[in-house]
């Protein structure tokens, strides 16, 4: 049988393929009630968020939620940018990646929620004031709080008991809790067998955007106006107090030898030496969920002061829910109101790294943890009182700034360079970068902030 693939056959095949392809297309655009939520791929958060979406769509059957996740950090920001570039902005997202809210404000990624809040008389009295202030730029509120944590000092109560040491205080006003006392404890809690360290006094869990250490000595790496407008030409790394604080931090590893080196910490994977019961104290933002996985008695305490005058010692990270500009704003607003309402918060806070921003639910959130709730509440309240928001949330171009800081401080963290040498190398480069970011964004700043001084 001589069968030919004729031109007619080809046209038939092409028409059939086209019809098949086209039949799949309407799903992309016709369902106007589909809400795209873009999030990081944190398994605990995803589980509780999915539960909250199921509850929301049960109450609001006209909506469906398309929940997409990406890796955290800079990769998540790259995908977020691609969503906006493609004209498919997410209805709901958050500053859970590397860039902070202010970066999104400058790039017109987020919707001003003030008119919606006023129209619906959305009650925000249950949120911490600091959270609302953090999300407000030029008198416009761009986010609704979903959680917040001031970084405390976590500690292993079992190891403190074994060493016969008193627990660190929960009271942030306690002037006896100083860096030197903490160092004394760290030495007492460090154990060695010959050349090997078998137990560490303290772990530097992360560098906390580098601002944490100067804050213990009453300094900051950027001036205040940087955080007011998200732009600055100045930084404080040349300040001897900042340099000294960074040196004190790395001395814990290389001089005092009470903290593990980066390679030792790296060998323990995500949960690190603290969660493995091999370190007594731990300074790490968002570690409530980490500490909560530990199989020992743990507690949270105030951060010590390096200098008696140091009041603002805790780095706070306050997370908002954001609504993508150009998205289905009304649908997104319905979802955000649910997620930040009491029912939604009760569901998602079980897996949330930053807990809840609703003061009325804080007791319930801490109640699920092993330390006494009143202790954790005291540490949280004191942390907010003695805390400052993390620079990454309120500084434009943080991704590039953070990359520069990390690369210039690498050798300091590895013990191959002093803090002074690291700062000497960093400072001129940071001057150039900050000026570049400032000049590039100054016009936008003038449109966002009527009182912008530049």
């Amino acid at each position: 049988m001589n069968q030919h693939f004729s031109r007619r056959d080809f046209l038939k095949l092409a028409a059939a393929s086209g019809t098949l392809l086209a039949s799949g297309l309407p799903a992309w655009g016709q369902d106007m009630s589909e809400l795209l939520v873009y999030w990081r791929n944190n398994p605990r958060e995803i589980e509780t968020m999915e539960q909250a979406f199921a509850d929301f769509t049960a109450d609001h059957p006209s909506y469906s939620v398309n929940f997409q996740q990406a890796a955290g950090g800079l990769e998540g920001d790259a995908r977020l940018q691609a969503l906006f570039a493609a004209g498919t902005p997410p209805e709901v997202f958050a500053s859970v990646f590397n860039a902070g809210l202010v970066d999104y404000v400058y790039r017109d990624f987020v919707t001003d929620l003030t008119p919606l809040i006023e129209r619906d008389a959305w009650d925000q009295s249950d949120y911490f004031d600091v959270a609302l202030e953090t999300f407000t730029f030029g008198g416009k509120q761009f986010g609704i709080p979903r959680g917040g944590i001031p970084s405390p000092l976590f500690y292993n109560k079992d190891l403190f008991d074994q060493a016969g040491l008193p627990y660190p205080p929960t009271d942030w006003e306690d002037e006896s809790w100083t860096w030197d006392t903490m160092l004394e404890y760290a030495h007492a809690l460090t154990k060695r067998e010959g050349p090997r360290t078998t137990q560490y006094g303290i772990v530097i869990g992360s560098t906390l955007n580098w601002n944490q250490w100067p804050m213990l000595w009453g300094a900051q790496i950027f001036p205040d106006d940087a955080f007011n407008y998200g732009l600055t030409r100045e930084h404080n790394f040349r300040d001897p107090v900042v340099v000294n604080s960074l040196q004190k931090m790395v001395d814990l590893i290389w001089t005092e030898e009470v903290a593990p080196t980066p390679e030792v910490s790296g060998g323990f994977g995500f949960f690190g030496p603290f969660n493995n019961g091999l370190a007594a104290m731990y300074i790490h933002l968002g570690a409530y969920t980490v500490a909560n996985n530990a199989e020992f008695n743990w507690g949270a305490a105030a951060l010590p002061r390096g200098e008696p005058s140091a009041q603002q010692r805790s780095t706070t990270f306050t997370g908002p829910f954001l609504i993508g500009s150009g998205s289905n704003v009304e649908g997104a607003w319905d979802l955000v109101k649910y997620l930040t309402g009491v029912d939604g918060q009760r569901t998602i806070m079980r897996g949330a790294v930053v807990g809840t921003s609703r003061q009325s639910l804080l007791e319930e959130w801490f109640g699920a943890m092993s330390p006494p709730t009143n202790e954790l509440l005291a540490v949280q309240a004191g942390g907010y009182k003695h805390g400052l928001e993390s620079p990454n949330v309120r500084l434009v171009g943080w991704g590039e700034i953070a990359t520069l800081l990390s690369s210039e401080f690498d050798l300091m963290m590895l013990g191959e360079r002093s803090a002074q040498e690291a700062v000497d190398a960093l400072a001129p480069k940071l001057d150039v970068l900050l000026n570049e970011i400032y000049d590039k964004n100054i016009d936008k700043a003038r449109t966002i902030f009527p009182d912008f001084p530049g």
Binding site: Q81, R107, E263
Partner: protein, 296 residues
């Protein structure tokens, strides 16, 4: 009939051709245009003339740094891998019992995803708990280096890891070795040639087209290395593993400087093109093509 055949030809090459035009050629043309602009994706590109190229060539010190890191990795890594690929292929070319199993074992790592390999090697190269330093101490009494945490050892560490993926090169070499006529070796043996002579005067010339292919592919892939540094070191410590493509990626997708990243991409394209042309131009001096020789 010829027109029908032509139609089939175009029909069957159409998907590939369209893919190449849409996903390679068109983006290349667009990126060339973008390299003369400031472009943040979410706002329209703004023409800036040669500003990106000026910054890249005369201002940005990380361009030189990342190029030198990449060049060192390629210059050291490519010859080592070429040698090992040929050497192991020769070992696997022997007619021994169970040789197929050895071939499979040596190829197997190549099918593992790059990110999975990278994560595994982070643990293997951990200075304190990693297997590599443990073996160095147990077998040779050597205290191993800090590998990924050392500016001096991070590139050797990544080179060591790259040997994990030489399987495809071995297979190509093995195919080439099996294509060499046994008569050539027999004739050489009759003339009294030893193993080294046979390797130098038969194996190496006959394998030279394969070696050239692997060299070109090695240059291209080594100058485009990304995953290992992205996953394992983030370019650190202190930018000592900041490969060029990682720096390009950062500018494009982390710092949102798409125009500048496009200029960087064209610099990389030019470098790879020049190096590849240099290899092709030099090939008459060291590559032996049996078929060509037979025709002349």
């Amino acid at each position: 009939m010829r027109s029908r055949e032509a139609m089939y030809l175009y029909l069957f090459i159409a998907p590939g051709l369209l893919g190449m035009i849409l996903f390679h050629l068109a983006p290349m043309i667009v990126s060339f245009g973008l390299s003369f602009s400031e472009y943040e994706i979410t706002s329209p590109p703004e023409f800036v003339g040669f500003q990106n190229y000026h910054r890249m060539l005369f201002v940005d010190e990380l361009v030189g740094k990342s190029l030198s890191v990449t060049a060192v990795y390629a210059v050291v890594g490519v010859p080592i891998r070429l040698f090992l690929q040929l050497f192991i292929a020769m070992l696997l070319n022997r007619q021994l019992a169970g040789i197929r199993i050895f071939r499979a074992i040596l190829y197997f790592p190549s099918v593992v995803a790059g990110v999975a390999i990278a994560l595994g090697w982070i643990l293997l190269l951990n200075p304190t708990y990693g297997a590599v330093n443990h073996l160095l101490w147990e077998l040779f009494g050597i205290i191993g280096p800090r590998w990924l945490n050392s500016t001096q050892w991070v590139i050797p560490g990544l080179l060591l890891m790259s040997l994990w993926g030489i399987g495809p090169g071995i297979v190509i070499n093995l195919a080439g070795l099996q294509g060499i006529s046994a008569e050539l070796y027999e004739a050489a043996e009759i003339d009294g040639a030893g193993s080294f002579r046979k390797f130098l005067h038969i194996t190496l010339p006959m394998m030279s087209p394969i070696l050239m292919f692997n060299l070109v592919m090695g240059i291209v892939s080594n100058f485009q290395i990304f995953t290992q540094a992205y996953v394992m070191t983030s370019g650190g410590p202190a930018n000592s593993s900041l490969f060029f493509v990682l720096y390009l990626y950062r500018n494009a997708f982390e710092f949102f400087k798409m125009g500048y990243a496009s200029a960087l991409a064209w610099l990389l394209f030019a470098i790879i093109l020049i190096m590849t042309l240099a290899v092709f131009r030099s090939s008459p001096l060291w590559v032996y093509y049996e078929a060509k020789r037979e025709r002349t």
